[in-house]
């Protein structure tokens, strides 16, 4: 755009007339900047829609919270306008811009001519188009009038619903909560402030706000604002939940206020288009602040506004410099919680995350580094280094020299030669605390090591350092390395869950119970995960450990499950699925067989196969057909066979005493009973059972995870068999006399395996690892163990035995089965 450098009336004392639309932060800041450069240049008139002087809009939150008064947030009082001969026309918004005559016309009819016009109309709150949005008691959070409306509502106490869990919404919620209202935040996305924070930090924020008494509903889509007698009475969500409310604050976001500019025919996209000098498509008209779009970007934060105002004032006073866009950061306090984010923290190729978590102090820090440059940062709980990171980021500084120490912050990274973590640990004083849980100093740990504790486990057992929460494991290992030098054997024998953590499977399982961890992000935070959201190894493991630890309480995380468990079918090499309906004990009947035959024909399944576990496997089903297939199978009384899960697969039986001339017991009937009591349970790995009616063992019970061999005098129970890669014959666990005992022992053994094995560890390697004696001790040392374990298993089963196929057939998670759409290429007609 070609902006003129000067205007008419340059000569002599006649001042150019500068009219500003908008008495907000951007408009007034621009004027301040101009006055600073050339106070005599313009005759200034400012129009403000609000009937008051210029105030600091971002301080409305403290006003709402009762921490500040309006007078304290005024930036420019009436005297400032007078001193600078500025005409302030407040409470009379501009209705029209007439570019031909170079005048603006206010709502009152007042006409004001301009030589130069500055549009600083800011932004408008975004109103979601739901029924009830216009009811009395539905407010936005944009200006002082909104705050007054909220304060009036809060005087009577009652309930408030804030729609929007972004920065603005949380500030409103905090203020209303401090004013004594019961506040519910309704947020569309799964995590709070998702534009500024990653999943981990968003989760921490949610936990903290909930601890402070707010109700936070994520994944919550508002369907309607309900009313009574014209006044708001509540909010109804799309999932049917209703939340009563005396006031509803709509704080889902803002959009540039462009109506005036658009009506005047200026170039407008999302915002008013401006060049690097903040000049619009009309050279006489400038625009600044949240209403503009510069190089494709619109800003909703205050820092870019200052940069824009400088460029604008330079241009308007004849020495143009240009604005090149802003890199933004967000640093704020929500309910007194410090939060900071800057740059790109989406990770990606060549980008590496450095994560530090300090659960005891509620701190999460994550910096993203690529090609020796800082790409982004998210800080929660301790934002002291936010500015330093932001500075490194903006300047694109080479951080290779301080990389190892970067996450520890400026003080540490700038501390000179301590870049190797071992060197940093070596430099700590002897009384520096290493283990916070057990209060162990560095000197004490080193003393232990010198006294003969040459491994992590030895240190843990001698001085207790790193023996509790384990977060100082890395420090202790560094101390071992520093103290022992080459003698330190290094890595521990027992492997960690994955590269995301220094904890072993046993550590994680123990700590989930001890610390009552009940969500994946919580485990990752408390146990100091070094990645922001884990990996394909640890996510499914954590999901299982939580399912096992908190039956009925933990909400299964579908996105942490392998495809087969998410789709409730087995993926095949061509991307189609195979479907195995449950046939209890391997029994079937004409109705089931007909239903299976019909499904095969109806969905053109290319193959049906009898499996090794006595089931029928239907191949070649497309993911979008699965719910319909299941509906047809359900209709014939069949449920999911879980052939896809780390779960009870099949109970294989022989015909037993009912038909077989050698049969000693009703092996078929017992198999059916066992299957009906164990189906649907999630386990560390797949689990197969068989019941043979005599020692001829036709059901191959001695290569199953749990096998029963019936004999004349009762039932032999065998465990830990495997017919897979490494064949293993079962160990005899014990012999029992009755069917009920067999059922109880089966439930107890499964529960012991569920509670103790590592994720993806079959019973065979588990027993090889811990020893049969350990398993026997767990089941028999305490005479009440069988009963207790079986009770825990049956309690868990009360939540698990719910056919997942029926839910999918009824429409649950339908998006997992449907394509988004289909693209059909245009065909050119010849």
């Amino acid at each position: 755009m070609n902006a003129p450098m000067s205007f008419k009336g340059q000569a002599g004392q006649i001042r150019e007339r500068l009219v500003v639309i908008g008495n907000g932060m951007a408009g007034c800041r621009a004027i301040e900047e101009i006055l600073e450069r050339d106070p005599a240049r313009y005759a200034i008139t400012i129009f403000g829609a609000e009937p008051r002087v210029n105030y600091n809009r971002i301080m409305l939150s403290p006003v709402l919270a009762g921490e500040k008064t309006f007078d304290e947030i005024v930036i420019n009082d009436a005297a400032w306008y007078a001193d600078n001969a500025i005409t302030l026309i407040s409470g009379d918004p501009v209705a029209q811009i007439d570019r031909r005559t170079q005048t603006v016309i206010a709502q009152s009819g007042r006409v004001e001519p301009y030589d130069r016009l500055l549009i600083a109309t800011g932004s408008d709150p975004f109103i979601i188009p739901v029924p009830g949005k216009d009811l009395a008691g539905v407010v936005t959070f944009r200006d002082l009038d909104d705050v007054d409306r909220m304060l009036a509502a809060a005087e009577n106490g009652g309930a408030a619903v804030v729609i929007g869990g972004g920065l603005l919404g949380l500030e409103a919620a905090h203020g209303l909560s401090l004013r004594g209202m019961a506040v519910t935040v309704v947020h569309l996305m799964p995590t709070l402030m998702e534009r500024q924070l990653d999943e981990a930090a968003g989760w921490l924020l949610k936990e903290e706000l909930e601890r402070r008494g707010q109700v936070i509903l994520t994944d919550a889509d508002t369907a309607e604002i309900t009313g009574k007698d014209g006044h708001v009475s509540g909010v109804r969500l799309k999932d049917g939940r209703e939340i009563p409310a005396d006031i509803v604050v709509m704080a889902v976001g803002i959009k540039p206020s462009v109506a005036l500019a658009k009506a005047a025919g200026l170039d407008v996209e999302r915002g008013i288009m401006v060049d690097d000098h903040m000049v619009t498509s009309d050279p006489a008209i400038l625009a600044v602040g949240e209403c503009v779009q510069h190089r494709g970007a619109c800003y909703g934060l205050v820092a870019p506004l200052w940069d824009m105002c400088r460029a604008l004032a330079d241009h308007a006073t004849g020495s143009p410099t240009g604005y090149e866009g802003s890199v933004t950061s967000t640093k704020l306090k929500v309910s007194g919680i410090d939060v900071f984010s800057a740059g790109d923290f989406s990770g990606g190729d060549g980008a590496e995350d450095i994560v530090m978590r300090d659960a005891a102090r509620g701190i999460y820090k994550r910096v993203v580094v690529k090609d020796d440059r800082l790409l982004g940062a998210v800080l929660y709980g301790d934002t002291a280094d936010g500015n330093w990171y932001f500075d490194l980021l903006k300047r694109g500084e080479d951080i290779s020299g301080i990389r190892e120490a970067l996450i520890f912050g400026q003080a540490f990274a700038s501390g000179g030669a301590q870049l190797d973590p071992n060197a940093a640990v070596a430099a700590l004083s002897d009384d520096a605390e290493i283990c916070g849980c057990n209060g162990v100093s560095k000197g004490k740990v080193v003393g232990c090591i010198l006294g003969g504790a040459h491994s992590l486990d030895a240190v843990r057992s001698s001085c207790k350092a790193s023996a509790s929460c384990g977060s100082c494991t890395g420090l202790v290992e560094s101390l071992l390395a520093v103290t022992l030098g080459d003698e330190f054997a290094g890595e521990r024998v027992e492997k960690t869950v994955c590269k995301c953590t220094s904890f072993t499977h046993d550590d994680v399982r123990r700590l989930i119970i001890e610390k009552e961890l009940k969500a994946i992000p919580q485990v990752m935070q408390e146990l100091h995960w070094t990645t922001p959201d884990g990996c394909a190894s640890c996510r499914p493991a954590l999901n299982y450990y939580l399912v096992c630890a908190w039956p009925g309480e933990y909400v299964d995380d579908q996105k942490s499950r392998f495809v087969n468990e998410r789709m409730h079918a087995n993926i095949q090499k061509d991307g189609t699925y195979s479907v195995v309906p449950r046939m209890w004990g391997g029994l079937t009947n004409p109705r089931e067989l007909r239903a299976i035959a019909d499904v095969v024909e109806k969905f053109n399944a290319p193959m049906v196969k009898v499996t090794g576990g006595q089931r029928l496997d239907i191949f070649g089903i497309k993911k979008e057909d699965l719910p319909a297939v299941w509906a047809d199978l359900n209709a014939a009384g069949m449920v999911s066979g879980h052939a896809y899960g780390k779960s009870l697969r099949t109970v294989k039986t022989c015909v037993g005493s009912e038909w077989c001339r050698f049969g000693t017991q009703d092996s078929t009937g017992l198999g059916v009973q066992i299957e009906q009591s164990t189906w649907g349970s999630w386990m560390p790995h797949k689990f197969k059972i068989a019941v043979s009616g005599c020692p001829r063992n036709c059901a191959e019970a001695t290569i199953k995870d749990f096998g029963v061999i019936c004999v004349d005098s009762g039932y032999e129970l065998h465990v830990g068999g495997n017919g897979g890669i490494k064949v293993r014959v079962t160990d005899l666990l014990c012999k029992v006399a009755t069917e009920q005992e067999a059922l109880d022992h089966c439930a107890a053994f499964i529960q012991l395996y569920r509670e103790q094995a590592h994720y993806l560890e079959r019973t065979a390697p588990w027993i090889e690892r811990v020893g049969l004696d350990h398993v026997k001790a767990g089941l028999f040392d305490d005479p009440d163990s069988i009963r207790k374990l079986a009770a825990r298993f049956r309690y868990s089963q009360s939540f698990m035995q719910d056919d997942p196929w029926a839910k999918r057939a009824a429409g649950e998670d339908s998006e997992l089965h449907q394509h988004l759409a289909e693209v059909r290429p245009l065909e050119f007609v010849s």
Partner: protein, 113 residues
């Protein structure tokens, strides 16, 4: 209206940590991913290894793990990560005003009559 970008609908039709698919008649099916950090990416829905449907894999960071043999594929570049070698085409994607757009020319295979 036919622009350079193909509107495939609102962002909220894909939950974070999930992916959905877009079959293309006469062309390759596309997988659209929504990461836990609220980024969106699109790849041809075929692992470079054995053509597994990447849309069905576990999404972590900006990586998807193929459901067939656990190859890790970068959502940003389509490259196989770690020891594995291979690359799947990336479909340029942008998000604007809550809607997802794919670069039309990367999606649509033109048919000439």
């Amino acid at each position: 209206m036919i622009g350079d970008w193909l509107d495939i609908g609102p962002v909220d039709q894909i939950a974070p940590g999930n992916a959905r698919t877009l079959p293309v008649r006469g062309g390759e099916e596309i997988a659209i991913f929504h990461t836990l950090d609220n980024q969106f990416y699109a790849l041809v829905n075929k692992c470079p290894h054995k053509q597994g449907p990447l849309s069905q894999g576990i999404v972590h960071g900006t990586i998807v793990t193929c459901p067939l043999h656990n190859w890790n594929i970068s959502l940003k570049s389509g490259e196989a990560l770690g020891e594995d070698k291979g690359c799947v085409p990336v479909v340029p994607l942008r998000v604007d005003a809550g809607r997802i757009y794919l670069l039309r020319e990367a999606v649509v295979v033109k048919k000439v009559a």
